[in-house]
Amino acid sequence: MKQEQSIIPIDVGQLIGSVEQCRNEGYRLAQIGCTKVGDNSFEVNYSFDKDYVLRNLRITVTAETEVPSITGMYWGAFVYENEMHDLFGIQVKGINIDFKGTFIQTAIKYPFGVTVTKGEKP
Protein backbone atom coordinates (compact mmCIF):
# COMPACT_ATOMS: atom_id res chain seq x y z
CA MET A 1 0.00 0.00 0.00
CA LYS A 2 1.50 3.29 -1.06
CA GLN A 3 1.76 5.96 1.55
CA GLU A 4 0.72 9.36 0.29
CA GLN A 5 3.55 11.74 -0.29
CA SER A 6 4.40 14.61 -2.55
CA ILE A 7 7.62 16.38 -3.34
CA ILE A 8 7.51 20.09 -4.03
CA PRO A 9 10.75 21.62 -5.31
CA ILE A 10 11.20 25.19 -4.14
CA ASP A 11 13.93 27.84 -4.06
CA VAL A 12 15.94 28.56 -0.98
CA GLY A 13 14.34 32.01 -0.87
CA GLN A 14 10.85 30.55 -0.68
CA LEU A 15 11.74 28.19 2.13
CA ILE A 16 10.73 30.30 5.09
CA GLY A 17 7.44 31.27 3.47
CA SER A 18 6.50 27.73 2.54
CA VAL A 19 7.45 26.35 5.92
CA GLU A 20 5.39 29.03 7.56
CA GLN A 21 2.47 28.02 5.40
CA CYS A 22 2.89 24.40 6.52
CA ARG A 23 3.01 25.49 10.10
CA ASN A 24 -0.18 27.50 9.66
CA GLU A 25 -1.91 24.59 8.00
CA GLY A 26 -1.11 22.48 11.03
CA TYR A 27 1.61 20.29 9.63
CA ARG A 28 4.08 18.57 11.89
CA LEU A 29 7.76 18.43 11.06
CA ALA A 30 8.61 14.84 10.30
CA GLN A 31 12.21 15.17 9.25
CA ILE A 32 14.81 17.16 7.43
CA GLY A 33 17.14 15.09 5.35
CA CYS A 34 19.93 15.86 3.02
CA THR A 35 21.13 14.00 -0.05
CA LYS A 36 24.26 14.55 -2.02
CA VAL A 37 23.25 14.67 -5.65
CA GLY A 38 26.46 15.70 -7.31
CA ASP A 39 29.71 17.47 -6.71
CA ASN A 40 28.90 20.21 -4.28
CA SER A 41 25.20 19.95 -4.84
CA PHE A 42 22.83 18.84 -2.16
CA GLU A 43 19.13 18.28 -1.98
CA VAL A 44 17.48 19.05 1.29
CA ASN A 45 14.08 17.57 1.96
CA TYR A 46 11.87 19.13 4.56
CA SER A 47 9.15 16.64 5.28
CA PHE A 48 5.94 17.66 6.93
CA ASP A 49 3.19 15.35 7.97
CA LYS A 50 -0.47 15.90 8.54
CA ASP A 51 -2.99 13.12 8.82
CA TYR A 52 -0.43 10.63 7.49
CA VAL A 53 0.14 12.62 4.30
CA LEU A 54 3.73 13.58 3.78
CA ARG A 55 4.60 16.85 2.08
CA ASN A 56 8.22 17.32 1.16
CA LEU A 57 9.68 20.68 0.36
CA ARG A 58 12.87 20.24 -1.57
CA ILE A 59 15.61 22.79 -1.98
CA THR A 60 18.80 22.25 -3.89
CA VAL A 61 21.83 23.97 -2.48
CA THR A 62 25.60 23.99 -2.54
CA ALA A 63 27.85 23.93 0.46
CA GLU A 64 28.27 27.68 0.13
CA THR A 65 24.57 28.50 0.14
CA GLU A 66 23.34 29.83 3.41
CA VAL A 67 20.15 28.05 4.29
CA PRO A 68 17.90 29.91 6.67
CA SER A 69 16.98 28.01 9.78
CA ILE A 70 13.37 27.06 10.33
CA THR A 71 13.74 26.78 14.07
CA GLY A 72 11.66 29.96 14.37
CA MET A 73 8.61 28.02 13.22
CA TYR A 74 9.56 24.56 14.38
CA TRP A 75 11.64 24.80 17.51
CA GLY A 76 12.61 21.16 17.33
CA ALA A 77 14.26 21.47 13.94
CA PHE A 78 17.61 22.18 15.54
CA VAL A 79 18.52 18.51 15.71
CA TYR A 80 18.18 18.08 11.96
CA GLU A 81 19.81 21.35 11.08
CA ASN A 82 22.81 20.66 13.25
CA GLU A 83 23.04 17.21 11.80
CA MET A 84 22.88 18.63 8.29
CA HIS A 85 25.70 20.97 9.11
CA ASP A 86 27.84 18.35 10.81
CA LEU A 87 27.45 15.60 8.28
CA PHE A 88 27.11 17.47 5.01
CA GLY A 89 28.69 20.80 5.72
CA ILE A 90 25.64 22.82 4.79
CA GLN A 91 25.63 26.28 6.26
CA VAL A 92 22.48 26.87 8.23
CA LYS A 93 21.96 30.36 9.51
CA GLY A 94 20.28 31.25 12.76
CA ILE A 95 19.66 27.93 14.52
CA ASN A 96 18.28 28.44 17.99
CA ILE A 97 20.69 25.97 19.57
CA ASP A 98 23.70 26.09 17.30
CA PHE A 99 26.25 23.46 18.23
CA LYS A 100 28.67 24.85 15.65
CA GLY A 101 29.77 21.47 14.43
CA THR A 102 29.85 19.60 17.71
CA PHE A 103 26.47 17.89 17.58
CA ILE A 104 27.84 14.85 15.85
CA GLN A 105 31.58 14.72 15.96
CA THR A 106 33.25 12.68 13.29
CA ALA A 107 36.85 11.92 12.46
CA ILE A 108 36.37 13.14 8.92
CA LYS A 109 34.85 16.55 8.63
CA TYR A 110 31.50 16.50 6.84
CA PRO A 111 31.70 12.77 6.08
CA PHE A 112 28.64 12.69 3.86
CA GLY A 113 29.79 15.61 1.77
CA VAL A 114 33.00 13.95 0.63
CA THR A 115 33.58 10.68 -1.08
CA VAL A 116 35.79 8.43 0.95
CA THR A 117 37.39 5.82 -1.22
CA LYS A 118 37.97 2.35 0.01
CA GLY A 119 41.18 1.62 1.84
CA GLU A 120 41.54 5.18 3.00
CA LYS A 121 41.56 4.92 6.74
CA PRO A 122 39.75 7.73 8.47
Binding site: Q3, Q31, C34, T35, N45, S47, I104
Partner: protein
Amino acid sequence: MTKQIIVPFGPQHPVLPEPIHLDLVLEDERVVDAIPSIGYIHRGFEKLVEKREFTEYVYIAERTCGICSFIHGATYCQGIEQIMNIEVPERADYLRTIWSEYSRLHSHLLWLGCFADSFGFENLFMAAWRIRERILDVFEQTTGGRVIQGSCKIGGVRRDIANDKLTGMSRDLDSIQKEIEELTTVFLNDDTVRHRTRNIGVLSRDDAYHLGAVGPTARGSGVAIDLRKTGYGAYDRLNVPVITDSCGDCYSRCYVRCKELFTSIDLIQQAITEIPDGPIDVKVTGSPNGEYFMRAEQPRGELVHYLKGNGTKFLVRSRIRTPTLTNIPPLVKMLQGCELADVPVIVLSIDPCISCTER
Protein backbone atom coordinates in the same frame (compact mmCIF):
# COMPACT_ATOMS: atom_id res chain seq x y z
CA MET B 1 17.99 35.41 41.15
CA THR B 2 19.56 32.26 42.38
CA LYS B 3 22.91 31.20 41.15
CA GLN B 4 22.84 28.95 38.12
CA ILE B 5 25.04 25.93 37.91
CA ILE B 6 25.50 23.48 35.09
CA VAL B 7 25.48 19.80 35.85
CA PRO B 8 26.57 17.43 33.13
CA PHE B 9 24.37 14.37 32.83
CA GLY B 10 25.66 11.42 30.85
CA PRO B 11 26.98 10.05 28.56
CA GLN B 12 27.90 7.62 31.32
CA HIS B 13 25.19 7.45 33.88
CA PRO B 14 23.89 4.44 35.79
CA VAL B 15 20.39 4.85 34.45
CA LEU B 16 21.26 5.48 30.83
CA PRO B 17 21.37 2.45 28.63
CA GLU B 18 22.99 4.45 25.90
CA PRO B 19 25.14 7.53 25.70
CA ILE B 20 23.43 10.87 25.46
CA HIS B 21 24.83 13.91 27.10
CA LEU B 22 22.73 16.63 28.67
CA ASP B 23 23.96 19.84 30.12
CA LEU B 24 21.47 20.66 32.82
CA VAL B 25 21.26 24.27 33.89
CA LEU B 26 20.14 24.24 37.49
CA GLU B 27 18.78 26.80 39.84
CA ASP B 28 18.98 25.10 43.19
CA GLU B 29 17.42 21.72 42.52
CA ARG B 30 15.34 22.86 39.59
CA VAL B 31 16.34 22.33 36.00
CA VAL B 32 15.78 25.49 34.00
CA ASP B 33 17.27 24.38 30.75
CA ALA B 34 18.79 21.33 29.19
CA ILE B 35 21.07 21.17 26.21
CA PRO B 36 21.33 17.77 24.62
CA SER B 37 24.26 16.53 22.69
CA ILE B 38 24.73 13.28 20.93
CA GLY B 39 27.49 12.04 18.74
CA TYR B 40 29.16 9.41 20.87
CA ILE B 41 28.25 6.49 18.72
CA HIS B 42 27.92 7.76 15.22
CA ARG B 43 28.55 4.72 13.04
CA GLY B 44 27.98 6.05 9.55
CA PHE B 45 25.40 3.49 8.52
CA GLU B 46 23.87 5.82 6.01
CA LYS B 47 27.20 6.20 4.31
CA LEU B 48 27.60 2.45 4.01
CA VAL B 49 24.76 2.36 1.54
CA GLU B 50 27.16 3.57 -1.13
CA LYS B 51 29.37 0.55 -0.60
CA ARG B 52 26.87 -2.26 -0.26
CA GLU B 53 24.38 -3.60 -2.72
CA PHE B 54 20.82 -2.73 -1.93
CA THR B 55 19.97 -6.34 -1.20
CA GLU B 56 22.77 -6.60 1.32
CA TYR B 57 21.88 -3.35 2.95
CA VAL B 58 18.94 -5.09 4.58
CA TYR B 59 21.34 -6.64 7.06
CA ILE B 60 22.86 -3.27 7.75
CA ALA B 61 19.53 -1.50 8.05
CA GLU B 62 18.54 -4.14 10.53
CA ARG B 63 21.54 -3.46 12.67
CA THR B 64 20.67 0.18 13.06
CA CYS B 65 19.01 -0.66 16.30
CA GLY B 66 19.38 -3.58 18.62
CA ILE B 67 15.82 -3.51 19.83
CA CYS B 68 13.52 -2.77 16.95
CA SER B 69 15.88 -4.36 14.47
CA PHE B 70 13.21 -6.28 12.65
CA ILE B 71 11.14 -3.18 11.98
CA HIS B 72 14.16 -1.39 10.55
CA GLY B 73 14.79 -4.23 8.17
CA ALA B 74 11.14 -4.52 7.21
CA THR B 75 10.77 -0.79 6.65
CA TYR B 76 13.80 -0.70 4.44
CA CYS B 77 12.51 -3.64 2.42
CA GLN B 78 9.09 -2.10 2.08
CA GLY B 79 10.65 1.14 0.90
CA ILE B 80 12.62 -0.63 -1.80
CA GLU B 81 9.57 -2.64 -2.76
CA GLN B 82 7.61 0.56 -3.21
CA ILE B 83 10.29 2.02 -5.47
CA MET B 84 10.50 -1.13 -7.55
CA ASN B 85 6.76 -1.78 -7.47
CA ILE B 86 7.11 -5.23 -6.04
CA GLU B 87 3.98 -6.87 -4.78
CA VAL B 88 4.82 -8.93 -1.72
CA PRO B 89 2.86 -12.15 -1.15
CA GLU B 90 0.22 -11.83 1.49
CA ARG B 91 1.72 -14.41 3.78
CA ALA B 92 4.96 -12.45 3.89
CA ASP B 93 3.05 -9.32 4.81
CA TYR B 94 1.42 -11.12 7.68
CA LEU B 95 4.65 -12.68 8.87
CA ARG B 96 6.31 -9.28 8.84
CA THR B 97 3.47 -7.91 10.88
CA ILE B 98 3.69 -10.73 13.39
CA TRP B 99 7.41 -10.23 13.86
CA SER B 100 6.99 -6.47 14.04
CA GLU B 101 4.48 -6.81 16.80
CA TYR B 102 6.69 -9.24 18.65
CA SER B 103 9.41 -6.61 18.36
CA ARG B 104 7.08 -4.11 19.88
CA LEU B 105 6.32 -6.43 22.78
CA HIS B 106 9.98 -7.06 23.30
CA SER B 107 10.84 -3.39 23.12
CA HIS B 108 8.09 -2.22 25.42
CA LEU B 109 8.92 -4.86 28.00
CA LEU B 110 12.54 -3.87 27.83
CA TRP B 111 11.54 -0.28 28.25
CA LEU B 112 9.28 -1.03 31.21
CA GLY B 113 12.22 -2.74 32.85
CA CYS B 114 14.60 0.14 32.20
CA PHE B 115 11.96 2.59 33.32
CA ALA B 116 11.47 0.75 36.60
CA ASP B 117 15.21 0.78 36.99
CA SER B 118 15.28 4.55 36.48
CA PHE B 119 13.27 5.10 39.63
CA GLY B 120 15.11 2.39 41.46
CA PHE B 121 12.57 -0.42 41.34
CA GLU B 122 15.07 -3.15 40.53
CA ASN B 123 12.71 -5.94 41.28
CA LEU B 124 10.20 -4.81 38.72
CA PHE B 125 12.99 -4.40 36.22
CA MET B 126 13.83 -8.07 36.56
CA ALA B 127 10.18 -9.06 36.38
CA ALA B 128 9.72 -7.21 33.09
CA TRP B 129 12.82 -8.70 31.57
CA ARG B 130 11.80 -12.16 32.60
CA ILE B 131 8.74 -11.89 30.42
CA ARG B 132 10.77 -10.36 27.63
CA GLU B 133 12.90 -13.47 27.66
CA ARG B 134 9.92 -15.49 26.51
CA ILE B 135 9.41 -13.15 23.58
CA LEU B 136 13.05 -13.50 22.62
CA ASP B 137 12.66 -17.25 22.74
CA VAL B 138 9.89 -17.01 20.19
CA PHE B 139 12.18 -14.95 17.98
CA GLU B 140 14.90 -17.50 18.26
CA GLN B 141 12.59 -20.36 17.48
CA THR B 142 11.12 -18.68 14.43
CA THR B 143 14.00 -16.73 12.94
CA GLY B 144 17.17 -18.07 14.49
CA GLY B 145 18.23 -14.80 16.06
CA ARG B 146 17.25 -13.46 19.42
CA VAL B 147 17.88 -9.83 18.75
CA ILE B 148 18.87 -9.53 15.12
CA GLN B 149 16.27 -11.57 13.34
CA GLY B 150 17.51 -11.26 9.81
CA SER B 151 14.36 -12.80 8.48
CA CYS B 152 13.27 -10.03 6.17
CA LYS B 153 14.44 -9.60 2.64
CA ILE B 154 13.41 -7.57 -0.34
CA GLY B 155 10.45 -9.27 -1.91
CA GLY B 156 9.28 -11.15 1.14
CA VAL B 157 10.66 -12.96 4.13
CA ARG B 158 13.43 -15.49 4.40
CA ARG B 159 11.74 -17.91 6.71
CA ASP B 160 8.27 -19.20 7.03
CA ILE B 161 6.60 -20.11 10.27
CA ALA B 162 4.76 -23.39 10.06
CA ASN B 163 1.07 -23.20 10.81
CA ASP B 164 1.21 -25.45 13.84
CA LYS B 165 4.02 -23.33 15.21
CA LEU B 166 1.75 -20.31 14.77
CA THR B 167 -0.96 -22.01 16.78
CA GLY B 168 1.60 -22.79 19.46
CA MET B 169 2.70 -19.17 19.50
CA SER B 170 -0.87 -18.07 19.90
CA ARG B 171 -1.32 -20.35 22.90
CA ASP B 172 1.94 -19.16 24.34
CA LEU B 173 0.77 -15.58 23.97
CA ASP B 174 -2.22 -16.28 26.15
CA SER B 175 0.02 -17.20 29.03
CA ILE B 176 2.34 -14.29 28.29
CA GLN B 177 -0.66 -12.02 28.37
CA LYS B 178 -1.47 -13.16 31.90
CA GLU B 179 2.04 -12.42 33.05
CA ILE B 180 1.94 -9.04 31.39
CA GLU B 181 -1.33 -8.28 33.12
CA GLU B 182 0.30 -8.90 36.46
CA LEU B 183 3.24 -6.76 35.49
CA THR B 184 1.26 -3.82 34.21
CA THR B 185 -0.96 -3.74 37.29
CA VAL B 186 2.16 -2.94 39.24
CA PHE B 187 3.12 -0.19 36.83
CA LEU B 188 -0.30 1.33 36.66
CA ASN B 189 -1.53 0.95 40.22
CA ASP B 190 1.44 0.81 42.49
CA ASP B 191 1.85 3.82 44.71
CA THR B 192 5.60 3.93 44.44
CA VAL B 193 5.49 4.04 40.69
CA ARG B 194 2.73 6.60 40.64
CA HIS B 195 4.64 8.79 43.04
CA ARG B 196 7.65 8.93 40.81
CA THR B 197 5.82 9.42 37.53
CA ARG B 198 2.61 11.40 38.02
CA ASN B 199 2.89 15.03 36.94
CA ILE B 200 6.55 14.62 36.17
CA GLY B 201 7.86 15.85 32.85
CA VAL B 202 4.60 17.16 31.51
CA LEU B 203 4.44 17.74 27.78
CA SER B 204 1.42 19.59 26.53
CA ARG B 205 -0.48 18.44 23.49
CA ASP B 206 0.53 21.46 21.42
CA ASP B 207 4.18 21.12 22.31
CA ALA B 208 4.11 17.45 21.54
CA TYR B 209 2.66 18.04 18.11
CA HIS B 210 4.77 20.97 17.04
CA LEU B 211 8.03 19.75 18.46
CA GLY B 212 7.55 16.63 16.42
CA ALA B 213 7.03 14.07 19.18
CA VAL B 214 6.12 10.66 17.85
CA GLY B 215 5.08 7.31 19.21
CA PRO B 216 4.13 6.83 22.83
CA THR B 217 5.68 10.19 23.69
CA ALA B 218 3.13 11.91 21.47
CA ARG B 219 0.28 9.55 22.30
CA GLY B 220 0.89 10.08 26.01
CA SER B 221 0.15 13.74 25.38
CA GLY B 222 -3.02 13.00 23.48
CA VAL B 223 -1.70 13.26 19.94
CA ALA B 224 -3.07 10.26 18.12
CA ILE B 225 -0.31 9.53 15.64
CA ASP B 226 0.20 5.90 14.85
CA LEU B 227 1.74 5.09 11.51
CA ARG B 228 0.24 1.64 11.56
CA LYS B 229 -2.92 3.44 10.53
CA THR B 230 -1.40 4.08 7.11
CA GLY B 231 -1.85 0.39 6.51
CA TYR B 232 1.57 -0.81 5.47
CA GLY B 233 2.27 -4.51 5.79
CA ALA B 234 -0.85 -6.32 6.86
CA TYR B 235 -2.04 -3.55 9.13
CA ASP B 236 -4.68 -2.47 6.63
CA ARG B 237 -6.37 -5.82 7.18
CA LEU B 238 -6.13 -5.75 10.95
CA ASN B 239 -7.91 -3.68 13.50
CA VAL B 240 -5.35 -1.32 15.04
CA PRO B 241 -6.58 0.71 17.99
CA VAL B 242 -4.62 3.85 18.78
CA ILE B 243 -4.05 4.27 22.47
CA THR B 244 -3.73 7.76 23.84
CA ASP B 245 -3.72 9.39 27.20
CA SER B 246 -4.18 13.04 27.88
CA CYS B 247 -1.97 13.96 30.81
CA GLY B 248 1.35 14.08 29.00
CA ASP B 249 3.40 13.12 32.05
CA CYS B 250 5.67 10.14 32.59
CA TYR B 251 2.80 8.11 33.91
CA SER B 252 0.81 8.68 30.72
CA ARG B 253 3.67 7.53 28.58
CA CYS B 254 4.01 4.47 30.74
CA TYR B 255 0.26 3.90 30.53
CA VAL B 256 0.31 4.08 26.73
CA ARG B 257 3.10 1.54 26.49
CA CYS B 258 1.47 -0.79 28.98
CA LYS B 259 -1.76 -0.76 27.01
CA GLU B 260 0.10 -1.17 23.73
CA LEU B 261 1.47 -4.45 24.98
CA PHE B 262 -2.07 -5.76 24.87
CA THR B 263 -2.74 -4.20 21.48
CA SER B 264 0.30 -5.96 20.14
CA ILE B 265 -0.78 -9.29 21.56
CA ASP B 266 -4.19 -8.75 20.08
CA LEU B 267 -2.72 -7.84 16.70
CA ILE B 268 -0.58 -10.96 16.66
CA GLN B 269 -3.61 -13.05 17.52
CA GLN B 270 -5.59 -11.42 14.74
CA ALA B 271 -2.77 -11.97 12.30
CA ILE B 272 -2.38 -15.59 13.30
CA THR B 273 -6.06 -16.27 12.72
CA GLU B 274 -6.13 -14.50 9.38
CA ILE B 275 -2.80 -15.50 7.89
CA PRO B 276 -3.31 -17.06 4.46
CA ASP B 277 -1.24 -19.88 3.06
CA GLY B 278 0.94 -19.24 0.08
CA PRO B 279 4.41 -18.31 -1.02
CA ILE B 280 6.56 -16.15 1.20
CA ASP B 281 8.67 -14.33 -1.32
CA VAL B 282 8.88 -13.17 -4.89
CA LYS B 283 11.93 -12.97 -7.05
CA VAL B 284 13.49 -9.57 -7.31
CA THR B 285 15.15 -8.48 -10.51
CA GLY B 286 16.59 -5.16 -11.49
CA SER B 287 17.67 -2.31 -9.34
CA PRO B 288 15.70 0.44 -7.67
CA ASN B 289 15.37 3.69 -9.55
CA GLY B 290 13.46 6.37 -7.77
CA GLU B 291 12.88 7.62 -4.31
CA TYR B 292 10.48 6.96 -1.54
CA PHE B 293 9.85 7.98 2.01
CA MET B 294 8.83 4.83 3.80
CA ARG B 295 7.34 5.40 7.17
CA ALA B 296 6.54 2.82 9.76
CA GLU B 297 5.61 2.69 13.39
CA GLN B 298 8.38 1.55 15.64
CA PRO B 299 7.92 0.88 19.33
CA ARG B 300 9.32 4.36 19.86
CA GLY B 301 7.34 6.09 17.18
CA GLU B 302 7.44 7.01 13.57
CA LEU B 303 10.41 5.82 11.62
CA VAL B 304 11.30 7.34 8.27
CA HIS B 305 13.48 5.58 5.78
CA TYR B 306 14.20 7.80 2.84
CA LEU B 307 15.61 5.74 0.00
CA LYS B 308 16.88 6.98 -3.28
CA GLY B 309 18.22 4.80 -6.04
CA ASN B 310 19.60 5.62 -9.44
CA GLY B 311 19.12 2.36 -11.22
CA THR B 312 22.37 0.80 -10.10
CA LYS B 313 22.91 -1.83 -7.46
CA PHE B 314 24.02 0.83 -5.03
CA LEU B 315 21.56 3.24 -3.55
CA VAL B 316 22.42 6.92 -3.63
CA ARG B 317 21.04 7.68 -0.27
CA SER B 318 19.38 6.01 2.61
CA ARG B 319 18.32 8.34 5.30
CA ILE B 320 17.07 6.82 8.47
CA ARG B 321 15.23 9.16 10.75
CA THR B 322 14.64 7.32 13.95
CA PRO B 323 11.98 8.26 16.47
CA THR B 324 14.40 9.18 19.24
CA LEU B 325 15.97 11.91 17.16
CA THR B 326 12.70 13.68 16.82
CA ASN B 327 11.80 13.00 20.44
CA ILE B 328 14.83 14.91 21.68
CA PRO B 329 13.31 18.41 21.34
CA PRO B 330 10.22 17.34 23.32
CA LEU B 331 12.55 15.86 25.91
CA VAL B 332 14.28 19.21 26.29
CA LYS B 333 10.89 20.84 26.81
CA MET B 334 9.94 18.26 29.43
CA LEU B 335 13.13 18.75 31.34
CA GLN B 336 12.63 22.48 31.71
CA GLY B 337 11.26 23.04 35.15
CA CYS B 338 11.68 19.59 36.59
CA GLU B 339 13.62 18.53 39.65
CA LEU B 340 17.12 17.19 39.22
CA ALA B 341 16.14 13.90 40.84
CA ASP B 342 13.47 13.35 38.21
CA VAL B 343 15.78 13.79 35.24
CA PRO B 344 16.57 10.07 34.85
CA VAL B 345 12.90 9.15 34.90
CA ILE B 346 12.03 11.79 32.33
CA VAL B 347 14.89 10.90 30.03
CA LEU B 348 13.89 7.26 30.18
CA SER B 349 10.25 8.08 29.61
CA ILE B 350 10.82 8.91 25.95
CA ASP B 351 12.49 5.54 25.53
CA PRO B 352 15.75 6.91 24.20
CA CYS B 353 17.60 4.73 21.76
CA ILE B 354 20.64 6.76 21.00
CA SER B 355 22.48 4.28 18.82
CA CYS B 356 19.78 4.39 16.24
CA THR B 357 19.47 8.12 16.62
CA GLU B 358 22.96 8.53 15.32
CA ARG B 359 23.04 5.55 13.07
